[in-house]
Structures are given as structure tokens and as C-alpha cells.
Symmetry: C2
Subunit: 324 residues, 2 copies
Amino acid sequence: MTETLQTLLAPIAPQLAEVDKLFHLELGTDLACVNTLVKHVSRFRGKMLRPTLVLLSGQAAGGLRQEHVTIATVVEMVHMATLVHDDVLDEAELRRRGATINHLRGNEAAVLLGDYLISHSYHLCSSLQSQLASRTIARTTNQVCEGELLQIDNRNNYDLSQQTYIEIIKRKTAVLCATCCYLGGVLAGATESVARDLESYGERIGMAFQIQDDILDIVGDPSAVGKTLGIDVEKGKMTLPMIHFLRTAPSEHRMLLRSLLASRDGDKTEKIRNLILPSGSIDYARQFAGELIAGAKASLQSLPLNPARQTLETMADFVIDRPM
Amino acid sequence: MTETLQTLLAPIAPQLAEVDKLFHLELGTDLACVNTLVKHVSRFRGKMLRPTLVLLSGQAAGGLRQEHVTIATVVEMVHMATLVHDDVLDEAELRRRGATINHLRGNEAAVLLGDYLISHSYHLCSSLQSQLASRTIARTTNQVCEGELLQIDNRNNYDLSQQTYIEIIKRKTAVLCATCCYLGGVLAGATESVARDLESYGERIGMAFQIQDDILDIVGDPSAVGKTLGIDVEKGKMTLPMIHFLRTAPSEHRMLLRSLLASRDGDKTEKIRNLILPSGSIDYARQFAGELIAGAKASLQSLPLNPARQTLETMADFVIDRPM
């Protein structure tokens, strides 16, 4: 995280520390074997993007209450659960520079630990007075699952349309960010209209975040990004640069990409990278993400001009400026 | 299911049909690929034990309301989610026996479909006015995950104590049955004391059910039971008959069981069966389950004597009288 952003986040640092405490309090048990797994998974925790969205949205829309810390912890648990299950699906070995749970303890522990995290997220959420948050979080996780299911249904589908790709990333990634901002606003007493604007901000930066992730999977430097790259290619997941390439590149290049995608060549990730890099397809995806970020910032116009709103704007830029 | 029991369940047949309808209504989406998977999973649905417990407990404790149908559907979804994820854990076996390419795709879809089911169960639950059900269901699923995690942590632990075994089956199986009965009572307006008695009934039949399952895994006839047997042995899961055997059998028999459990012998299930069958360990487990059933029935004494209470008593007997 850049130093600037860290300074900007200082006003919510106490609440982020509370989220961290509540996260461990909620997940603690009388079983040593469970506590060990939870401790391991905590190491994957990174920039707490989703809790930050809840807290900043709340602050921008009227001020923080205790419920914000609860919901911020809930969304962090939901996010961790999806990470743990994603690693099972991706058969990934490395996450945030540490071994993944499935790699270390087997797929079974990873499946169950993901279940444990999601169960506790609902448990914590149901401690709030109103059902609204529980209902919203559950609707959100319904959509996350739909997005993931739609994605595996389109694995190795080299004809995947941009429209379906957008539908996938909206559900699997953007909806959770949208919910963070929406609930952050609602819990601060925002009007429905302002809360929906925050939701729209969250959805757009969520989509841009995923597109940036997809770009990094092709062009990123593993040591800077800190996780296994080239997984999309390995798992037959079509991403925006590839979809654009298969629509616009010279036909012999398109055919080459298709045959590389289908091959079992050990160097295929490298070869695909070298094929796509000189084309305009990475730039296309970057521009697409940039427009989403501009739209996200525009969504904030109905909010009062205050430091939290400005930080949300800076965060939007950060999403597509992450290290390569 | 015996004909007698089916006749006894006739009074809740309309509500069970409503559960079936609500199950499909809640899980329907705009995505064809998701609907196909849901249709597939519906075929696994069997005797609807858990919805039946909700409905009978409600009827025994004061009468059914619309909320009973909702909660009965919720617990059926929770149960289906655990089945689907259990299959993922067991599919590792199938891979060893040389499953096809289909396997990988099946595994991923199963993880996500389980997540989808659990997410919808919370979503449906959060449609109820009060948070009590959401809170109770989430606490229950927390414990189910703990039980499963404790179980895999003790895989191939031939020194597993009976106490830890009981802790495992209580959490992974019995707690959900207990919650079915508890919420069935609460939603019918039962006093806390009566609802707790129903909970105790549910916990005991849940444990007896699991012990009976464990017995069948060793001595059952696959064609009568209708599923693959010997899985506990294959997966290094220690069950009550084995735990008793390793505590009480002559020392050379104990050593033989240990070496069989550790072996990769293709006939090991058959050999273990032949070793345990003549001992008193199956009878010990049967008696243990029988005492739980007697305790379960005794828990019902605080309820008014009505047909639903009598059906709960008959169901308790049925749990340990299932076909061999």
C-alpha cells in the first residue's frame, strides 16, 4: 500500500484494529485444531479492502457506529472464505507469499475451513438487531456463488463474450464490494438514494479491481504481486485481454492463442504473455478499467464533500495503480 | 421407510410438499448452468428427516405456522450442502480408483454448489421476522464445521478416545437434528424448557443415527443400505465399534486391526468386518445407540400426549431399526 493511502486511512485505523480483534474473537473455539487453521488463514489477510470500504462509506455518509465494525468483520470473513475455496478450485499453492491451506493441509481442510468462515460470517451478522444486513449479505453471497459457477461453466470456452465475462466478474467480485459500500451507507443513516450511489461506486471499483487482477495474471511480476500468476491461463479462464485479443487480433494470432490455450505446453503462460503483450489488448483492458474508475468517482457526487469521500476517490485510483 | 411410519407422517404431508416447493423456489436463478446443478442435487434428496423433525416438533409443541415450512426448508438446504461437500471430501477416493477428466470439474462444481446451497439457506432464513432463527442456524453450522474439522484432524488416529468420538458426532450430526426440534418447538410457542427438551430429543436421535450409520458401514449390506459402505475404514475414520474393539479385544486382535487399518490391502474392509463381527463391539455400539434412543423418548415427557409426540417416539425407534 502506498504511504499516501496509509496516511489517508489513518482516521479509520482504530476501527480497522477493532475489526481485527472481532475477527479473532468470533472465530475462536475450544478446539485446538480449528484454532490452528484459523491462525494460518489469518496470515493471508492483506489490505482489508472490503472492511475499508464499509468504514469509509459509513464515514462519508454520516459517521460510524458499532454496527459498521461488525459488518466490516463480516465482509472480511466472507472474502476470506471465498479466497480459501478459490484456492481449492485453482489448486493454487501460494497465497500472499505463504502456502495455501489446501496445499498445506489438503483440500478437505480447505473446503471445511471455508465453510467455517462463511458460517461464522452469518453468525456474526445475525447478532445485529435488524435482519436487513443478514438478508443483504446472504443475497450477496448467493450472487458470488452464481458468478463462480458461471465462470467454471465457461472454462475453456474461447468464444466467451465480453458481456458474459462482465456478468461473471460483476457477481463473483463486484457485488461484495458494492454491498460493503451500500451497507456502510445504510448503517450511517444515508438515504436510499445515497446508499445506492455508494453501491454503484463499490460495484465499479470491484469490477475494475478484477480486471486489473486479470491483467496482472498475464503481465505481472510474481515477486511484486506475491501470488501464483498465470493461473487464469492454466485453468482455462478467459479474461478481458484475451477476449479482446480473440476478437481483434490478426487471424493467425488468434489461432495461435487458441492453440496455445488448448495445449499442455509447459511454457504456455510465457508464450501467451509474449503474444498478447505487443497487441493492444492489455491497453484495452486498462482503459476499460480506467473508465469504470472514472464512473465510480462520479457516483460519489451525491455525497457531502468530506475527507472520507476524498479517500474513497483516492482508493478508486489505487485499484488500477497497484504494483505490477 | 416403513409403511407404518409413512402413515404416521400423513398429517404433515402437505407441509412437506410445501417444503419441496419452497426449496426449488429459493434456489431458482436466471442462470441455466446453476439450475441444472440444482436439479441434479435434488435427486440426492431422500427421506427429509430434518424437515420432518421441525414439523413434528412444531405440531407436538402447539401447532404449525408458515415459519415452520421456512425453517424446514432451511435445514434441508443446510443438510444438502453438507452432503455435497462431504461428497467432495469422499471424491478423493474416486480419483484413486481412476475416475475420468469429469472428476475435476465435478469437484469444483460440488464445492461451489455446496456454497450456493448454504448461502441460500441463510438467505431464506433471513426472510423471517426475528433474528433468533438466523442466529441459531448459524451457530449450528459453526458446530457442524467444527465436528467435521475435528474428524479430519483425527483421521488415522487409532488412539481416538470414545469421548472425542462422541464430541465429533455430536457436532457434525446431532446438533443439526437438535436445532430442528428446538426451532420447531420455539416457533410453535413452546416454553424455553419444552423447547430444550425437544432439542435434547433431537440431539440424542442424531447421535444414535450416526452410530447406526457407523455400524452399517461395517456390517451393512450395500444393496439394502443403498450406498457405498466401508468408507469410514477407507478414510481412516474411527467409529464406535472400532474404538471399543481397540480398547477391549485380546491384544493380538487389536494389533491385527491396527495393522489392517494402516494397510493398503484391497480386501481390508472385508477383513476388518470379519474381525469385528464375532467380537462384542458391534453389540456394544448397538446398545449405546439404544440407550440414546431411550433417553430421547424420555425427553419428550414434558410434551402433551398427542399424535405428533407419538410419531416422534416411533421415529426414534426407526433410527436404529433401519434395514441392514
